[in-house]
Amino acid sequence: MATTTPLLEAVGIQKHFGRVVALRDANFALERSEVHALVGDNGAGKSTLIKIISGVYSPDAGALELDGERVTIGNPREARELGIETVYQDLALADHLDAAANLFLGRELYLGGLLGRIGFLDKSAMRSRAEDEMRRLKIGIQSVDQPVLGLSGGQRQAVAVARAIAWGTRIVIMDEPTAALGVRESGMVLELIREVRNQGLAIIMISHNLPEVFAVADRITVLRLGRTITTLRREETTLEEIVGMMTGALEVAA
């Protein structure tokens, strides 16, 4: 059992939109080098909690602590600066650009000297760095020069993940990573998630696909109606138990 400070801790988070209460008491603790699944039925508050962690929203009450230190995350850029990256469900990839271009989108490498200052890109440096990243994650893509439009769903997901972790990230948030993928491709993505964890990052994963959650997650947090029900290690629970907690059929001892 870890007694060190969690990498990220959210305590007592509350958030409402007008009269709709999205989170009334959410708690969440993320360890280093773990895959932590966030599950719950629709409307449980998973997306809202994620958006608070990634800086899209600010909580109405409650605290966020990173490495034991209190932080306020005012916007997505601050989240990124703290090492928190999000891979959205739509991947946010520029389809007609290649993998290298996508990896460096918004953070391009420039040539040296005067040319670089007027905006000339160092495409070969970006290409080789992209190849390194792909290799690090053990992803094989025909060429980083192809438009990502032509890649399979799993490969596109891989590019999006590679982009998320290439920048000194510590925490990666993944929103329904296998939602649009077939069985084989989903398997590849789960493998990728494990690889990312093995390299020392922490992953928060939202998923409705409980079998997959059980395939890859180290710990599972269940939300229901804006409240954290419990956090359990995968080995300590079963799929049926989790479903029960999500729907409220099973009462949980505090």
């Binding site: 918004g106 000339f120 053990k138 398997g187």
Partner: protein
């Protein structure tokens, strides 16, 4: 509690399902890709070949005829360059012909007013021609840029679709231009320093306007392929929201792109005055169509994302080569319009086939 789901088998590193296919397939794909991109060059070459053989000797492929084709196309090339950037962002600029006309009127009037008194210019005297030409050229280009800037600002601030906004600026630019010159031509032709000395003069064998188009073409191509500006243009067109999330100031970039298109129109206006000595709104009603056709033939998707500058320039040549060749063939003028229109449709169709092939 044990997990009820078995994990997928671990495979060796480097081969976890994302493994690349064998080497030869990649190379063949590369060759197919290259051929499919350059089909337009081949099409143009075929056209030239056909007309060369089908026309009487020393008529089509003579130095002077080719020079004339290039001269008449130089303006459209500039417009097509600007339009390529705009269309790559998934936008469109219908106002370029009108902006060209307005810039020509504004710059032309400045040239005339500064070159001499109206009595002098009406009589063909231009005592201060160089002062007039210099300032007139600057006014042309800036006027174009100003309209482009307006387009960009209205599109991004008021969040209106580009097709509607540029339709509106098109009407306004034609209107203002007509207001300034009373609905017809400039009162006198622009100074011969610009027309004879630039529009009709050659440097190392090529007319000056052709040089301008060439230089702009090379610079634009480099910017498009190798700079942040070009990459952001493609990114915004491919995924606007994604680009925003990646930290790109999308709105600011879109304004820059439309402003660039306007600057191209302003530069084309300088060439227009130099070649045709005067300007009238009638002559520019379908410039936007010529430019957009050139871009579409060249293969820049009107849905944004993918595009190259050089192919747009090639696309600009196809209608002019066609028209010139058909005239030399003594084809009836009415048939020429049919053929040019049909060729555009065929070119776009072939491009669509190629795209579908590529995306499997």
């Amino acid at each position: 509690m044990t997990s009820t789901v078995t994990e997928p088998p671990r495979t060796e590193p480097g081969a976890n399902g994302f493994a690349p296919p064998p080497e030869e397939q990649t190379r063949r794909q590369q060759v197919v890709y290259l051929l499919s991109r350059s089909w337009l060059f081949l099409f143009l070459l075929l056209l030239v070949l056909y007309f060369w053989l089908a026309s009487p000797p020393s008529t089509f492929l003579t130095g002077s005829n080719v020079a004339q084709i290039a001269l008449t196309t130089s303006e459209v090339v500039l417009l097509a360059i600007g339009e390529t950037f705009v269309i790559t962002t998934a936008g469109i600029d219908l106002s370029i012909g009108a902006v060209l006309f307005f810039s020509g009127v504004a710059g032309g009037e400045v040239m005339l007013k500064l070159s001499g008194t109206s009595a002098q210019t009406l009589a063909g005297q231009y005592p201060h021609a160089w002062r007039g030409i210099a300032l007139g050229v600057v006014v042309c280009i800036l006027a174009g840029g100003a309209w482009g800037l307006l387009n960009g600002l209205v599109i991004t601030r008021m969040k209106l679709p580009p097709i509607i906004v540029t339709l509106g600026t098109m009407a306004m630019a034609f209107g203002f231009g007509d207001l300034i010159d009373g609905g017809s031509y400039l009162p006198a032709p622009v100074p011969p320093g610009l027309t004879h000395g630039f529009g009709a003069s050659k440097f190392l064998g090529l007319y000056y306007p052709i040089w301008v188009a060439l230089v702009v073409l090379v610079v634009a191509h480099t910017v498009y392929q190798h700079t942040r500006f070009g990459r952001y243009t493609a990114a915004v067109g491919s995924n606007e929201e994604g680009s925003r999330r990646a930290g790109i100031s999308v709105d600011r970039h879109i304004v820059k792109v439309y402003a660039l298109c306007g600057l191209m129109a302003g530069t084309a206006a300088v060439l227009d005055l130099a070649i045709f000595t005067n300007t009238t709104s009638v002559a520019h009603q379908t410039d936007n169509l010529s430019a957009i056709s050139a871009v579409v033939i060249g293969g820049t998707s009107v849905f944004g994302g993918f595009g190259t500058i050089l192919l747009s320039a090639v696309g600009a040549f196809i209608p002019t080569v066609l028209q010139n060749g058909l005239v030399i063939q003594d084809v009836q003028p009415f048939w020429q319009e049919v053929v040019v229109g049909a060729t555009i449709v065929v070119a776009v169709y072939i491009d669509q086939l190629r795209r579908r092939r590529m995306n499997r």
